[in-house]
């Protein structure tokens, strides 16, 4: 795969717009191979917040944030980063064993009647 040299970080300019910059965090990578993260995949960090101090800032933020299960969408919103960027950062953390995620597809178009009833009851209790 052709990639721009990492050390050359002047390939974009202001006209590239705000979306270009976040991709520099991921070294230009725009998707994570092998790890199937979706908008509503749940992830949680294994290290505690103190252990995050030694990590690179973007990873540390994710680890501190994910002390309880959060969806990819929530992490992206909290970090104010586009979803694809967050997926790449999460994939790095997953590969290093710092984050676990739900591998199976959590969303089903036909959940069983018990799940639907629980959703209905839950809404009524709000």
């Amino acid at each position: 795969m052709m990639m721009m040299p990492r050390e050359d970080d002047t390939w974009f300019d202001d006209a590239a717009g705000p979306i270009a910059r976040p991709y520099t965090i991921t070294g230009g990578r725009t998707h994570a191979d092998n790890i199937d993260l979706q908008l509503l995949s749940l992830v949680v960090a294994l290290p505690g917040p103190a252990e995050a101090d030694s990590m690179a800032p973007e990873y540390a933020r994710i680890v501190r944030l994910c002390q309880r299960p959060l969806s990819v969408a929530e992490i992206a919103a909290h970090l104010d980063l586009p979803v694809p960027i967050v997926k790449v950062l999460l994939a790095d953390l997953i590969e290093r064993g710092h984050v676990i995620y739900r591998t199976s597809q959590p969303l089903s178009e036909a959940p069983d009647q018990h799940v639907l009833q629980a959703v209905l009851d839950g809404i009524r209790r709000l």
Binding site: L42, A77, R102, P111, V115, A118, V119, G122, I123
Partner: protein, 196 residues
């Protein structure tokens, strides 16, 4: 319990479900999400060139043509094993291609209608009808808006009589709850029919 141990807290096995809140731009989708969400509605951005076309590099022009679609959503933790997300669909027509992805795995949808601009919810009604996704129509009663009856709205939208229509106030928690309860009943009824 303040300290329940790390295991339950680090659990990612919860079932995740989602409902959609659709309708035209400015109809009150995010307001409706916020009225029942346990968190303030969050906004996340999907970068389109990457998500839709799978473009793998950012060598120049792509970065200028990248569009982001903002998605507003909320969360209701029903219990530690069941989390409901409410997603507002993008209101602008040019983001239609996002809908397939959003609708995937959704249990059902609320189509929020504004009687002053009823035509803005036609595309959403068409989309959910075609897809066979259970939906209800919530007629958001804006201040000063002329209030049509639900049957007038049904006729204007050419809605099947099996689709529930409710008058609602998207700002009001009880009103939104009522809409979502009727939606879930519709989802369950449709699921029961499909099992036969």
């Amino acid at each position: 319990m303040a300290f329940a141990g790390s295991e339950p807290r680090r659990n990612v096995s919860a079932t995740v479900v989602k409902l959609l809140i659709a309708g035209g731009f400015g109809v009150g989708k995010t307001t409706m999400v916020g009225s029942v969400s346990e968190i303030s509605p969050l906004r996340t951005e999907e970068a389109i060139t990457q998500a839709s076309a799978g473009i793998d590099d950012l060598t120049g022009v792509e970065s200028k043509t990248t569009t982001t679609v903002a998605l507003d959503f909320g969360r209701i933790t029903i219990n530690p094993e069941l989390i409901l997300y409410l997603f507002g669909t993008p209101g602008q027509d040019r983001f239609w291609f996002m809908w397939d992805e959003l609708a995937q795995g959704a249990l059902g949808a609320v189509v929020l209608a504004d009687t002053r601009r009823l035509e803005t919810c036609f595309p959403a009604v068409d989309f959910f009808e075609r897809r066979g996704l259970p939906f209800v129509v919530g007629v958001n009663c804006f201040d000063n808006a002329y209030r049509y009856g639900t049957e007038e709205v049904r006729a204007a939208l050419e809605l099947d009589e099996t689709v529930p229509i409710l008058l609602c106030d998207a700002r009001d928690r009880e009103s939104t709850k009522q809409v979502l309860v009727v939606l879930m009943q519709q989802v369950m009824a449709q699921a029961a029919l499909a099992r036969r």
